[in-house]
């Protein structure tokens, strides 16, 4: 076990004195294993429990949340920096394979986020999944999902991160295809898995290139060497950085690898909530933040590409949310768009800005998904044309959903306003003015589609079947629990405002081995914040004008048909078609070639080898085995048999015959002893 600790990390003008976290940091690794223990425990005994294993999953995350909260409080009031690793294997060439956990500002933020959002979603799932099929398997895979994400965010090196990365991919495959009775859901799971696999190649190649060049996979070393401008690392930094980014594009659903995320809505709604808030899609942004010093110092040339991808994602995919009819797909496209914001911010040098948006977004996106789940639970349909007028029937769901929507739209003073403003400020400060204006336009689009969603779902006349009613307390409770941070957590990082007693988000997120060196504004830029807010308000206003007012003909007005654009959006920019076409066109001939090779070449070889082996086998069987080995043993046993038959006649059962033999033998011996010897 190695423990290292750097006592002071400089962050802007503040000097943070970090402690090593003591016992809590030394045992933080517990958080990485409890969900995996829960996974096995649920598989073993889940069926026999009252909630079919849900209580085990909830208990595991509740235990974790204690650790995460203690560490968060310690980090807020002084900083915690610690790393524990165990050497598992020596790979050779100086490379070792280590597992362990990091405790620093970034990982503590993620521990807290994953465990808190995870716990709330798990509790919600107790109600949502009640009476559904395969509940123990659901909670087992759910625990695996959270556990893999904790392994990922606790990773001290790229190797462990890949393990967690693949674990998250696997668990998401299980959960997206959870209702596997329907072939479409299986296809959605496959699509997610394959798209992620394409991106994973980038991650693995990038990890190998950087790790072999540096001689270690350790993130702390990577950060330190990046800051020190290590020459060997500088040579591969751009390639390695872009490959890592390609990996992040898959998990964080950046254009054009975003295609799996909307389809991933096939899973149960709590899965979507967890996937979009805390576990899966944040992994890519987290990877970029974890390796941030690399991009800040050595891989600067990679950044324009990353910003371009992020900007396309945040705006173009946001537009897709306008034409989706499935409430969950609207939210999915919204997530992709928000991930574009985060990725753009981190790529532009806004370490804090990107992660702050990740942090706040997790709460209100989880809230929106759970609210959507509550609605779906009530009307038994995902389609917004089956909803409407639910405001009166489901008041708690309605109000919390509105809070989440306003937070996402970036309305003052909710969390989304502050984090989006932070991103805009960073983009402006770093000189990406055009990107900043696109981001402001994106804020308009966000507010626009969220207004549409709220209007179509909760206002107007109810168009579905049956009588919808409010969900049980176990489902509305988590909604309220998520609405509170959605409102308040933006206050953690107001520019120029210090909360007494605790350090603000920028400071405690900057507790790393090296200084992050990103910009945090000293005060609020009212012009910029105003522009962002104005764009959001315009979006809400325009959306309300189109979908809010004329309630009777709401559905007809949903078709805001702009020639060219509308069909383009409906076909999702043809990216899905292109991907399918590409896969079809390339894999078809390859598959046929492989089939031909298989039938005529490999089968031929296999048959020849098989025939030869059969002939040799026959030879050995008939010649050696039957004649040789068996002959010897049969002969021996026959000899023993006949000898036994001959000798047993001596045994007559007459005692006096034996005695005669005995006396005769004794006499012979006497004669021998006395007369011969």
């Amino acid at each position: 076990m190695t423990n290292f600790l750097i006592l002071a990390a400089e962050e802007g003008e503040h000097v943070i004195t970090a402690g090593d976290g003591g016992w809590w940091a030394d045992t933080a690794g517990l958080m990485l294993v409890t969900p995996l223990i829960a996974f096995l425990a649920i598989l073993a005994v889940g069926k026999r429990l009252k909630h079919q294993g849900g209580e085990i999953a909830v208990a595991a995350l509740a235990v974790n949340l204690v650790w995460a909260t203690v560490l968060l409080v310690m980090n807020m009031s002084g900083g915690v920096l610690d790393q524990t690793t165990f050497e598992i294997a020596n790979i050779g060439n100086g490379l070792v394979f280590e597992l362990g956990w990091v405790v620093d500002g970034l990982s503590i933020m993620m521990y807290f986020l994953v465990n808190l959002v995870g716990l709330i979603v798990f509790v919600y799932a107790l109600g949502y999944m009640h009476g559904d099929v395969r509940v123990p398997w659901f909670f087992a895979a759910f625990s695996l999902f959270a556990g893999s994400m904790l392994i990922l965010v606790g990773a001290p090196n790229l190797m462990q991160m890949i393990i967690g990365w693949e674990g998250v991919g696997l668990a998401s495959y299980f959960l997206i295809g959870f209702y596997w009775d329907d072939l479409d859901n299986v296809r959605a799971g496959n699509k997610a898995f394959m798209t992620n696999k394409v991106a994973d190649i980038g991650l693995i190649l990038g990890a190998v290139i950087l790790g072999v060049t540096l001689g270690t996979f350790d993130f702390a070393q990577l950060d330190l060497e990046s800051v020190a401008h290590n020459e060997a690392l500088a040579g591969v930094a751009v390639v390695g950085g872009l490959l890592l980014f390609f990996g992040a594009m898959g998990k964080s659903a950046q254009f054009p690898l975003h295609i799996w995320l909307p389809d991933a809505m096939a899973g149960p709604t709590p899965v979507s909530a967890l996937m979009h808030a805390a576990t899966m899609v944040t992994a890519g942004v987290y990877l970029m933040a974890r390796t941030f010093p690399l991009y800040e110092n050595l891989a600067q040339e990679a950044r324009p590409w990353m910003i371009a991808i992020g900007t396309i994602t945040l705006f173009a995919i946001g537009l897709l949310a306008l034409v989706a009819n499935d409430i969950k797909k609207v939210l999915a496209y919204s997530t992709v768009s928000q991930l574009g914001y985060m990725m753009t911010a981190v790529a532009a040098g806004g370490y804090t800005a990107g992660l702050f948006h990740l942090f706040t977004h997790a709460f209100f996106k989880a809230l929106l998904f759970l609210g959507a789940g509550s609605v779906i639970h009530a009307v038994h349909s995902n389609d917004m044309s089956d909803m409407g007028g639910l405001r009166k029937h489901m008041p708690t769901t309605f109000w919390t959903f509105v809070v989440g929507s306003l937070a996402l739209a970036g309305i003052f003073p909710l969390a989304g306003f502050w984090s989006k403003d932070e991103i805009l400020a960073t983009l402006g400060y770093e000189g990406y003015t055009l990107v900043m204006w696109i981001a402001i336009a994106g804020a308009f689009v966000t507010a626009f589609y969220m207004t549409r969603t709220v209007a179509l779902t909760f206002f107007g006349e109810y168009k579905g079947h049956g009588h919808p009613h409010e969900s049980p307390r176990i489902m509305t409770g988590p909604l309220v629990a998520l609405a509170i941070p959605s409102v308040l957590f933006g206050l953690l990082n107001i520019p120029g405002v210090e909360i007494p007693g605790i350090s603000n988000f920028t400071e405690w997120l900057g507790v790393r081995e090296v200084t992050m060196g990103d910009h945090h504004a000293e005060g609020i830029d009212f012009l910029l914040a105003g522009s962002g807010l104005l764009a959001a308000l315009a979006g809400v206003g325009l959306g309300w004008m189109i979908w809010g007012k004329d309630r009777a003909s709401q559905q007809e007005r949903d078709r805001f048909e702009i020639p060219l654009l509308y069909p383009l959006l409906r076909r999702k920019y043809f990216v899905d078609d292109a991907a399918l076409g590409l896969v079809g066109a390339t894999t078809g001939p390859v598959a046929r070639l492989v089939d031909w090779t298989n039938t005529y070449v490999i089968d031929g070889i296999v048959n020849a080898v098989g025939g030869g082996t059969k002939f040799l086998g026959g030879l050995v069987y008939n010649g050696l085995d039957q004649l040789g080995v068996d002959g010897v043993f049969n002969g021996l046993s026959a000899a023993a048999d006949s000898a036994g038959s001959a000798l047993r006649k001596i045994q007559t059962g007459r005692v006096q015959q034996y005695a005669s033999g005995f006396v005769a033998g004794a006499l012979i011996l006497i004669v021998l002893f006395v007369f011969v010897i």
Binding site: R648, K649, Q651, T652, G653, R654, Q656, A659, S660, V663
Partner: protein
């Protein structure tokens, strides 16, 4: 001291015992013959002990052992004979040929 007369007596007794063991058909008499043979050995042991006069009196000790074993042997032997007679109404060894192949 001369031991010849004792050795002659013991040899005669032993020969009578072997004769009885091989010729007699009654199990009780066979057992008696065995006793004769054992006592012939005892006479030999005592005779040689008297001649050699060892301080530990090994001959007498062995004779006592033989008597003890003989007593035990007769006890078990007669019990077996009794059981055989009860089951088969016969004490003739020619009838006891069950212990064969």
């Amino acid at each position: 001291m001369i031991v010849n007369q004792f050795l002659v007596l013991a040899a005669a007794l032993f020969a009578i015992g072997i004769y009885g063991l091989l010729i007699r058909r009654n199990i009780v008499l066979i057992l008696l013959s065995v006793e004769l043979m054992l006592n012939a050995v005892n006479i030999n042991l005592i005779a040689f002990e008297s001649m050699l006069d060892t301080p530990e009196a090994i001959g007498q000790v062995f004779a006592v052992f033989v008597i003890t074993v003989a007593a035990a042997e007769v006890g078990i032997g007669l019990a077996i004979v009794l059981m055989i007679f009860r089951n088969r109404q016969s004490a003739n060894v020619d009838d006891l040929n069950l212990m064969r192949w």
